[in-house]
């Protein structure tokens, strides 16, 4: 699975994360992503996909930081190279910001404390907005953006950061057709430039079209490999059947 010329961009071994140490949401997770892979993280509701992403980034109360390696090192050493896109619903969209302000936020760690974004940062943010088709909305307050535009804005913020690894939580959730197409294209372009991408995805019908690889996940990795092969009917039936038997998945 690993390319011969590089250490995995992201490597988890026996990783555990959740909200209480007694009952972690995900446990025993083994996963390695090679450079430039475009991977969908699929699994039933309640499988812990979002918790896995948050846990890797140290955003959950319980997370085995020692069992995650980014670019062969710790998260703190690799910060800035890792971009995270949270679920759109977790953000306060009534906050008084313009689209450009949000795109600029991808650059905040680079700008440093006490300093305002300069011309250079604004140009980069504008370029990122342009890539997702929001150039004309740069000055629009974010509460006037549609759901799909908001999602593209979050992608632009991650783009502005110019990271080598993108962790995306449901980038295609509830977006219009145009936004879905734009985001898919941007991800393909990034992959072509060598960016590694892992995205939580819930639409099994489009996994093969948008992603090269797939990780089937239910509290741990069930299967990982090329999307076509990994999403075999038996695996999907097993995992999704498993959870609906447990009453966790919607039909």
């Amino acid at each position: 699975m690993t390319a011969a010329d590089a250490a995995p961009v992201l490597e988890l071994s026996g990783f555990r994360a959740g909200y209480s140490a007694a009952e972690p949401v995900v446990e025993g997770v083994d996963l390695a992503l090679r450079r430039g892979s475009l991977t969908a993280l699929v699994g039933p509701n309640g499988a812990g996909k979002s918790t896995l992403l948050k846990g890797m980034l140290g955003l959950t109360p319980v997370a085995d930081a020692g069992r995650v390696r980014f670019f062969g090192t710790t998260l703190d050493a690799a910060r800035g190279r890792v971009a995270y896109l949270p679920q759109r619903s977790e953000i306060d969209w009534s906050f008084p910001l313009r689209a450009l302000d949000v795109a600029c936020m991808g650059l905040y760690s680079r700008i440093g404390l006490f300093r305002r974004p300069g011309r250079d940062a604004r140009l980069r943010a504008e370029r990122a907005l342009d890539l997702v088709g929001l150039a004309a909305s740069a000055r629009t307050p974010i509460d006037e953006l549609s759901g799909g535009q908001r999602q593209r804005l979050l992608v632009a913020r991650a783009l502005a950061q110019d990271a080598d690894l993108l962790l995306l939580d449901e980038p295609f959730a509830n977006v219009d057709e145009r936004s879905e197409r734009t985001i898919a294209e941007v991800l393909q372009q990034l992959r072509a430039q060598g960016t590694t991408i892992l995205a939580v995805h819930h639409d099994l019908a489009t996994v093969r079209a948008y992603f090269d690889d797939a990780v089937v996940f239910h509290r741990r990795v069930i299967a990982h490999g090329p999307a076509g092969r990994t999403l075999s009917e038996s695996t999907v039936a097993r995992v999704f059947g498993l959870s609906s038997a447990a009453g966790e998945a919607r039909a």
Binding site: L59, V82, F95, D101, M105, S146
Partner: protein, 302 residues
């Protein structure tokens, strides 16, 4: 400083200036406190400052500095407010308490302790004359030049900190998870915000009163958020509304002597908030403003 002296012209100017400064600071700090969902923590800080203020008053008397030394009261009040806010996350981890229970327990325990200390001070003669008797509901008339100086310094500090950390404070208010992934020092930024909040609340309690000071933190900021504009506009608006309401409160309490200043300015701030909500709702209902793109897009996109 007693009330009759407070009605003189010079003191009115001191009172008005001090209250305006406090209102402006409260609006600025409140914008971030509200966005960071810390409004109830602000109320805990305000109520919990009472025991610290009382102890500082007693310490000042004992040391011969005079009980009502603003800097001493600020230090004492801030310490006990910080102690109470520090307790909140620890209490909320206890079985069956939860975040809201922790806020309530911390607030009432510290305020209860303060109330006991206050009543024992007031039973002393020096306490009543020292001006602590207006602590609960506030009295602008008791504002001294030393209070004014303290409020002016506080206003400068708050403005400087907000200007320096503007983008970081905005980032943690808008999307904390993202800020943490970027490696911004979220915990330390929250502590800075808490320090500004506690300083504003404690410095403002002489004029706005411990019980209602939180309203001056929340209401002007909430009103400003109802109106469109960039974050800078919202902050400027919140500061202006805060200052305006504080001044109106002082004027009302000077006109009607039985009306405490804190209650009056809180009423103004609350009334302005309600009025703004009603006007906006009315305009939407009449369709005077065509529904914003967000409304339309939100409906289509959802």
């Amino acid at each position: 400083m007693d009330a009759t002296e407070g009605i003189s012209r010079a003191n009115t100017v001191v009172a008005l200036t001090g209250c305006a400064l406090f209102g402006a600071v409260a609006g600025v700090v409140g914008t971030f406190v509200l966005a960071r969902r810390r409004a109830l923590l602000a109320d805990v800080a305000a109520h919990a400052s009472l025991p610290g203020v009382c102890l500082a008053f007693l310490a000042g008397e004992a040391l011969g500095l005079g009980g009502r030394t603003p800097w001493l009261l600020l230090a004492g009040g801030s310490l006990s407010a910080l102690l109470a806010t520090w307790c909140v996350p620890h209490l909320s981890r206890l079985r069956g308490v939860g975040p809201d229970g922790a806020l309530a327990v911390s607030l009432s325990f510290f305020f209860g302790l303060g109330a006991v200390l206050l009543s024992s001070i007031q039973s002393h003669e020096s306490g009543a004359q020292g001006g602590l008797n207006h602590l609960l509901f506030g009295s602008a008339a008791a504002t001294t030049r030393a209070d004014l100086l303290m409020l002016a310094v506080l206003a400068l500090v708050v403005l400087a900190v907000v200007a320096m950390l503007f983008k970081e404070l905005a980032a943690i208010a808008f999307d904390e998870m993202h800020a943490r992934v970027l490696g911004l020092p979220v915990r330390r930024l929250d502590l800075v915000l808490l320090a500004l909040l506690v300083a504003s609340v404690v410095a403002g309690m002489q004029v706005a009163g411990i019980v209602l000071v939180v309203a001056m933190i929340v209401a002007p900021a909430a009103t400003a958020r109802l109106l469109p504009g960039s974050l800078t506009t919202v902050i400027a608006l919140a500061a202006s509304i805060g200052a305006g309401c504080a001044v109106c409160g002082v004027l009302l309490s000077l006109r009607y002597e039985s009306l405490p200043t804190g209650s009056a300015m809180t009423l103004c701030a609350g009334a302005l908030f309600m009025l703004t909500t009603l006007v906006l709702a009315g305009r939407r209902w009449r369709g005077a403003t065509p529904s914003t793109p967000a409304d339309a897009a939100g409906r289509a996109g959802a």
